[in-house]
């Protein structure tokens, strides 16, 4: 993000109305490589192509806040890889990590990863370091420390069904796993912040939150998220595009001040649930409208969204979730135009 975009983002979070109305999208491997015309494996394995794809998006859509911006990542494999998860990288499909915990007894012996050296994390960081001069030359800065959230990682390491039932049957084991992952994530986020002093935001992505009731979330999620967001940064950003009605009222207490949700809830309702304390990034349907709709449909649904809002403060217009595969430049332009006219 440019300095100006960062200032604008902070103004929005501080409840200032900005004109024109702001547009932002989370962009990463599901959309960017194929939009740029390369396959996903090339995007992951070639630093130059990764950088060029990111720069091209910024050049084509200079008025859009791309979040987190220059996201160095290996899809769902990034964080689980440091625990030794087997990572699968098909040529033009999304990578995925296999679980490493076969039974709850494995939790205690799970190694505590070192983000400086373990799994794909050194590659993530080094890519950003190598690209930093060109990113800055383009007028941008690295603003966010990014990681999948602790519940999401626990589910990858153990299997989501197994993790959720362990929470109910052997809560002490689930807590031990969450503590281990949280410590790892704190190390990982701090390493990113140390490496890039321009970082002033934390971005966590975790859709397992959406499967939990309030009691489970308060016990097995909230304390760990609070710990992770308890850092001296100005933007505390969470993505959860699974159901969020249970967790939304708790977001201010966790420290979250920017939230990207799914499309199954209205922004008006979310403003109520979050006591208007959280900036919302959303939320037209990503796949059915932004990717599959034509320009007319995108314009129509976006205009409906803008007009539906009783209060446009603390809103950044986007889709509900990250940018999905197959979204055309024309549809993004139609979205921007609909927000701004």
């Amino acid at each position: 993000m440019t300095d100006q975009q960062w200032i604008t983002l902070q103004k929005i979070i501080k409840n200032e109305i900005v004109q024109p109305l702001p547009v932002g999208f989370i962009i990463d491997c599901p959309w960017l490589p194929n939009w740029y015309g390369i396959n996903i494996l090339d995007y992951f394995s070639n630093d130059e192509l990764w950088l060029k794809a990111n720069l091209k998006a910024l050049q084509d859509f200079p008025d859009v806040m791309f979040l987190p911006g220059f996201w160095s990542e290996f899809g769902m494999c990034t964080e689980p890889s440091a625990f030794g998860a087997r990572c699968i990288f098909p040529i033009n499909e999304f990578p995925h990590a296999h679980k490493v915990i076969q039974s709850v007894d494995d939790i205690d012996s799970l190694p505590q990863p070192n983000p400086k050296t373990d799994g794909l994390l050194p590659f993530v960081l080094n890519r950003l370091k190598l690209a930093q001069p060109k990113i800055e030359a383009a007028g941008h800065n690295i603003r966010f420390a990014v990681a999948r959230g602790p519940l999401n990682i626990a589910s990858y390491l153990m299997g989501s069904t197994e993790f959720l039932t362990t929470m109910m049957m052997q809560p002490e084991k689930a807590e031990a796993l969450m503590k281990k992952i949280t410590l790892y994530l704190k190390d990982w986020l701090h390493l990113q912040m140390e490496t890039f002093p321009s970082i002033d935001g934390i971005f966590l992505l975790d859709d397992i939150i959406g499967f939990m009731g309030e009691e489970e979330f308060r016990n097995f999620g909230m304390p760990y998220f609070k710990e992770l967001y308890d850092a001296n940064v100005s933007v505390k950003f969470l993505h959860n595009d699974a159901p969020c009605k249970v967790s939304a009222p708790l977001l201010p207490e966790i420290g979250v001040n920017l939230f990207n949700m799914g499309f199954d809830i209205t922004l008006n309702e979310l403003q109520q649930l979050t006591q208007h304390k959280v900036t919302l990034l959303g939320n037209i349907p990503p796949r059915d409208v932004l990717a599959s709709g034509d320009v007319t449909k995108v314009r129509e649904v976006t205009t409906q969204l803008v007009n539906s809002l009783q209060d446009k403060s603390k809103i950044i217009f986007s889709c509900g979730g990250g940018m999905p595969p197959g979204v055309s430049s024309e549809n993004i332009q139609a979205f921007i135009k609909a927000v701004r006219t």
Binding site: E93, A97, L164, M168, D207
Partner: protein
């Protein structure tokens, strides 16, 4: 209704697997679905009545889930309790004393390792008297096609959590419909809608496990 049957149903609804299970807290130390089912069979209560108790318990928890009164972990625990019952009933299924309603081939589509939705559907559908052939996660379309070929008359369920794997779901539905046009397909998963399901050529969509049971029972009754 026999008291034992009522208690089995209650255990299933509340996810009480057996006496050793610490969940739910309010039933700690009490007998669970496992012990009570054994007692019921020893007392010559018919397996059909026990299966019905399971169905009732799963239906109640499924309805509470649909109303957002309970969430995925509670539903998973109920399904585990139901499995404890089904382990005792398995010989009756094998002998034909208890008849299954039909066969349901189920899997999470290629590229997606999420198993929550698929497992929930499996457990609830099984609890409602269907035989489920669970193909697991990250299932390629060829594996679905093989399973359909080997399971005549089956209905197929495709699950996905990631928006990004919707493309694979759509491809799988289309390949099934080309090779086995009469086979009914239901799809489900967080990023889906009925509209998207119909566009990809599926016969049905459900956003929760109970909806899948309703769909299957309707097809079975037709």
């Amino acid at each position: 209704m026999d008291e034992l049957v009522v208690r089995i149903s209650h255990c299933v609804e509340n996810g009480k697997i057996n006496k050793a299970s610490p969940y739910p807290n309010a039933m700690k130390g009490m007998e669970g679905a496992d012990e009570l089912t054994k007692q019921a069979l020893d007392a010559a209560i018919g397996p059909d009545a026990i299966l019905q108790a399971c169905n009732d318990g799963m239906q109640r928890i499924g309805e509470r889930f649909s109303r957002n009164e309970v969430f995925v972990p509670e539903l998973l625990m109920a399904a585990k309790a139901m499995h404890a019952v089904m382990a005792h009933l398995e010989p009756f299924f094998k002998s034909g004393t208890v008849k299954v309603k039909g066969k349901f081939v189920l899997g999470t589509v290629a590229g997606d390792l999420h198993d929550i939705g698929k497992n929930l559907v499996r457990m609830v559908v099984e609890g409602n008297g269907w035989e489920v052939i669970d193909l697991g996660v990250d299932v390629k379309s060829t594996k679905f096609l093989d399973a359909i070929k080997n399971t005549p008359g089956c209905i197929v369920g495709l699950s996905a959590l990631l928006t990004t794997t919707m493309v694979n779901m759509s491809k799988t539905v289309q390949e099934i419909k080309i090779q086995f046009p009469a086979t009914k397909v239901i799809v489900g998963g967080a990023p889906l809608t009925m509209d998207a399901a119909l566009k990809m050529g599926a016969d049905g969509y459900s956003h929760d496990p109970q909806g899948a049971v309703t769909f299957l029972d309707k097809i079975s009754a037709a």
